[in-house]
């Protein structure tokens, strides 16, 4: 006997006789607010903040255990969490921490925005124009798999050692990824929408704007997320190449400096910071974007 029963908050057996409206209302509220609408803080905490915190604590615990029980006692192999903390703390005291992060994040986001502006029309062209697709579709995929370091020598020679070189490397890394994400988003658009758009007179650019882009949005956002990852990684590669005093020290440079100093604590510091930035960008930008897209088309209500 399959059975679903909803216990009402006010008077368990009250379910049998209707009319208990106050209790009903409360029950409804409690139930519905889970699915949609604003959540109370406690719930957000339990559902959103607690699990990653637990995950992070678990990692830290294992790490500390590895060091404490001297399973790994060589600091060149694994620095103690306290050492890494110390390095972070020092950087914070010297007021450098936010500087590193800001330098990289501002560069990364600006480069990503450029990549967006270039990658989106490019992706649309490839997705919609047959000849363009045949001509540069595979090249785009090829470019995507070209490592950023490959671009560094030509970029330095042509542009010099400056921010434009960094942006060029970011663009070459992120544009193909964003474009490809959009292409596969467009490919997955159900033909019925394109047909409906055509009968409404949405052809050409108007069709692209009103139908293709919104319909491809879920795939596009997924592509953006990957595109951001590419931007960020390309930026790190570019920052490792050279640090110009005028340009500020970014996280990539921090990582490289750690390596140069054979300082594992510093390497871990850089890894941690890069990770934290990645997570923060995901939580602040992409997750909300994704959820908004999915919710607005009824894809968030799970079956």
């Amino acid at each position: 006997m399959a059975s679903t029963d909803t216990t009402r908050p006010a008077g368990g057996a009250g379910a049998k006789d209707g009319g208990d409206l106050a209790g009903l209302e409360a029950g409804l509220d409690a139930l519905e607010s889970v699915q949609q609408g604003r959540k109370p803080f406690r719930q957000t905490f339990v559902e959103k903040i607690l699990p990653p915190a637990v995950a992070v604590l678990l990692v830290l615990a294992v790490w500390q255990a590895l060091v404490s029980f001297e399973i790994v006692d060589d600091p060149t192999k694994l620095p103690a969490p306290s050492d890494v903390w110390e390095v972070l703390h020092q950087a914070w005291l010297q007021g450098e921490l936010l500087g590193y992060i800001w330098t990289s994040v501002s560069r990364g986001l600006l480069g990503f925005c450029f990549a967006l502006v270039i990658g989106t029309p490019l992706g649309l062209m490839v997705a919609r124009v047959k000849f363009v697709r045949a001509a540069i579709g595979p090249i785009l995929s090829g470019l995507q798999s070209l490592p950023s370091v490959a671009w560094v020598p030509p970029a330095v020679i042509w542009l010099g050692l400056n921010n434009s070189m960094m942006y060029a490397v970011i663009l070459l890394g992120a544009v193909p990824s964003i474009a490809n994400g959009l292409v596969s988003g467009v490919d997955q658009v159900s033909p019925i929408f394109l047909r409906a758009g055509r009968t409404l007179g949405a052809t050409g650019l108007r069709g692209t704007w009103h139908i293709v882009l919104p319909a491809a949005l879920p795939g596009y956002v997924a592509g953006l997320k990957q595109g951001w990852a590419f931007s960020w990684r390309s930026l790190m590669a570019a920052e490792i190449i050279a640090s110009f005093p005028d340009l500020g020290v970014g996280l990539g440079q921090l990582l490289e400096n750690g390596r140069n100093a054979s300082d594992m604590a510093m390497v871990f510091e850089a890894i941690l910071l890069i990770l934290v930035v990645g997570i923060a960008i995901d939580l602040l930008i992409f997750s909300p974007l994704e959820r908004w897209v999915l919710r607005s088309r009824g894809l968030l209500v799970r079956g």
């Binding site: 050692l161 050279a242 594992m264």
Partner: protein
Amino acid sequence: KDDDTAKIAAGAEKIDGLDSVRIGYFGNITHATPLVANQKGFFQKALGATEAKYAVFNAGPSEIEALNSGSVDIGWIGPSPAVNGYAKSGGKNLRIIGGSASGGVKLVVNPDRIKSLKDVKGKRIATPQLGNTQDVAFLNWIAEQGWKVDAQSGKGDVTVVRSDNKVTPDAYRSGSLDGAWVPEPTASKLVAEGGKVLLDESTLWPDEKFVITNIIVSQKFLEEHPKAVEAVLKASVDTNEWITANPDEAKTAANAQLEKDSGKALPADVLDPAWESIRLTDDPLAATLDAQAEHAVKAGLLDQPDLNGIYDLTLLNKVLKAKGKPAVDDAGLGVE
């Protein structure tokens, strides 16, 4: 594969029962000793039936990482990664067991923008990496001129640009740099681009000698297989001798090995001046290493390192003694 040289002599014996010794070096002209020794088979000859295996690196940190992970037993490396690696491991991972080269670092500048040493003020000069040997030397030189530069950021009376050696010639060409304080062959590459040598770092040192390449070994390997280490050291000393005796043949051999390792030989206009400026030495020039570390501390790039025990020159001195050469000094930094 290794058709030209590394034939294991028939009937030879394995040293210490070892199957192989893994030797690391850079595909770089300052590593002339291992390049020539590899090319001419000196290592293999010294190791007998124990196979010499090579790993070619692009940068010091990766070699230290490889040494720490046990993927490399003996390596040729610059002083700053050696010091950093030693200090950061708490003095547990490596020891310097010999020297290999001195000199070969120059300040090359764009003659249109910099005519004399005074002109360096206010210009953009590249060094390879924050806190590496050349970076420290340059910062020290700047301080000696009475100029101020913030070591971490490179901002100040001179703009110190930390730029990968691979990128520096490109950056120079694109006009982003006014000069560079770099080792060979990057310095000669810049000269080939039209740069002018403004200063040779060796002129700043007593006897015009300072260490640019050392031989390091993992402590574990040194403890377990001193015989193998000795054999490699002997090969190194022999090679240096041979190079001094046959400079032209050695140059060709080094370039051949470079081509083999990296698919590309150096052009003559880079190779010749670079080769000229490098002095081979068996002496690790311990005093200069100590001075370099001190400079780094002064620049605020290094916490006062405990370098005691970084040297173990017993085996080297044994090899030198057997050859009737004078012993070398560890400047008080040897193992007790």
